[in-house]
């Protein structure tokens, strides 16, 4: 039986900012349906890696294959959900207008219906006509989560997804991520919130000064001691 092709495949990836190598010879694969937690200190290269996976930046060397295609192919981008540092929400539009716009952008058959459904799921339906700029930080983050999930992407790229979320919103996001994994989606997330990430992760990659120094399955030992990987690679928390 032929092996299943990876959802994400990186081969010898290098990215320079000027003469500084932000990523150095990064190679790994993420199998479909896996949840990969990207761990590492600030400046290690996690966000640069996620930006390349999302097609926001091109590597200087190496090859990236996402869901069997090139990162900038429209078919591939239609299957990606991105939750980056910014929430990707327009302050001068209402919650409903924001989600309807993104549903249309993703080519959903019934954009308004999808927008209403996701406002319900994220507890924002009561304030659907409120402008995003009037929302609290937590509400804006929930709206961003709805925006990233509403087209049921096959690959979710999340950069610090738990930042600025309260306990309830973290539980909502974890629930949505579990649901996405159950339907076969692949998740790649960078995070400093180790416990929340390791609870979800099936695999872990440790990034250190632009190199992936560890990539493998998440173990019970990591779950019991979330700082284990950092200590192993000489970066005690």
């Amino acid at each position: 039986m032929a092996a299943e092709s990876p959802a994400v495949l990186l081969e010898g990836l290098w990215k320079y900012f000027g003469s500084f190598p932000a990523l150095r010879d990064v190679s790994f694969a993420v199998r479909p349906g896996a949840a990969l937690a990207l761990l590492g200190r600030n400046g290690a290269g996690k966000t640069t890696l996620l930006r390349i996976l999302a097609g926001l930046s091109r590597p200087d060397r190496g090859k990236v294959t996402i869901l069997g295609g090139a990162t900038r192919s429209a078919q591939v981008r239609a299957r990606i959900g991105l939750l980056g540092h910014g929430i990707g929400i327009y302050d001068e539009l209402s919650a409903l207008e924001n989600l309807t716009f993104h549903a249309r952008l993703q080519g959903l058959a019934e954009p308004a219906r999808a927008a209403h459904a996701w406002l319900e799921r994220t507890g924002l339906h009561a304030v659907r006509d409120g402008l995003a700029r009037e929302f609290s930080r937590g509400m804006r983050q929930r709206l961003a989560v709805a925006r990233a999930f509403l087209h049921e992407p096959s690959l979710l790229l999340l950069d610090e997804p738990f930042t600025a979320l309260d306990d309830r919103a973290i539980a909502v996001l974890q629930g949505l991520l579990r649901e996405a994994l159950d339907r076969g989606a692949t998740v790649v997330m960078s995070t400093h919130q180790l416990r929340e990430a390791l609870e979800l992760a099936t695999d872990v990659a440790m990034v250190q000064k632009g190199r992936v120094v560890h990539c493998g399955p998440r173990t019970e030992a990591m779950l019991a001691d979330p700082a284990l990987l950092y200590r192993t690679y000489g970066e005690p928390l």
Binding site: A54, G55, A78, G84, I87, I89, L93, L105, R147
Partner: protein, 226 residues
């Protein structure tokens, strides 16, 4: 068809945002009207004077006031990293560029449509005598402003001094289109016919529009992703 759908989706989102806040439109219109009124005190608007200055004055006003609109086109996407979200979505660089250009174009035409009658009143100019051809000049030249301005707005969006950089890059590049628009506007507001020797200006405007629209569409993906 899908290309057009996503292009119009981007344009309508920008126009909805702008009409809700009206921050750029109000600023651009106020600037255009203030300059027109102030210059009317400086000139004695007799018919000879109008023949000489109408085109230059109007297109200087439109070019300067358009910078406010054009700067905002991509700056609107900066808060909350909305531009990243758009670039990572299925919309192509060309669709994003064209959508932004269309939204800027509609706003520029609105400013022109309001400013022209005001010009007529303050300068005692009968601008409606050759309204059909004058409208054609405005349509072609506004597209030149929109397409070049959107291209440079995309290039300068991540610069801290983008408000200064955009005009510094845009105006020199716009010289051929502005020259054509000024010549034709002078002729048409004076009520003259456009002779064979003047038709070159129409061809220049149309050619400018076509070349820079195609160039913008071809380069957009490189500008956004590198």
């Amino acid at each position: 068809m899908k290309f057009l759908r996503l292009t119009l989706l981007i344009a309508s989102k920008d126009l909805r945002s702008e009409f809700r806040t009206k921050e750029t439109l109000n600023a651009s219109l106020s600037f255009a009207l203030a300059i027109l009124v102030l210059f009317s005190f400086a000139f004695d608007p007799d018919s000879d004077m109008i023949r000489q200055i109408a085109g230059g004055l109007l297109w200087m006003v439109f070019a300067f006031s358009s910078a406010l609109i054009l700067n905002r086109g991509f700056a609107r996407e900066v808060p909350n990293d909305c531009l990243d979200t758009l670039i990572a979505s299925p919309v192509s660089g060309a669709q994003l560029f064209l959508g932004k250009t269309v939204a800027n174009y509609v706003l520029l035409l609105l400013v022109e449509a309001v400013s022209l009658p005001v010009f007529g009143v303050f300068y005692n100019a009968n601008w409606a005598r050759r309204i059909g051809l004058l409208a054609l000049v405005f349509i072609l030249a506004a597209w030149a402003l929109a397409v070049m301005g959107t291209m440079f707005s995309a290039l300068t969006v991540n610069l801290r001094l983008r408000e200064l950089m955009l005009p510094a890059l845009l105006y020199p590049a716009l010289v051929p289109a502005l020259m054509a628009a000024i010549q034709l506007t002078n002729l048409l507001i004076a009520g003259d016919t456009v002779g064979k020797e003047d038709q070159i200006w129409f061809r220049l405007l149309a050619g400018f529009d076509a070349i820079f629209t195609l160039l913008g569409l071809a380069l957009a993906e490189t500008v956004f992703v590198g």
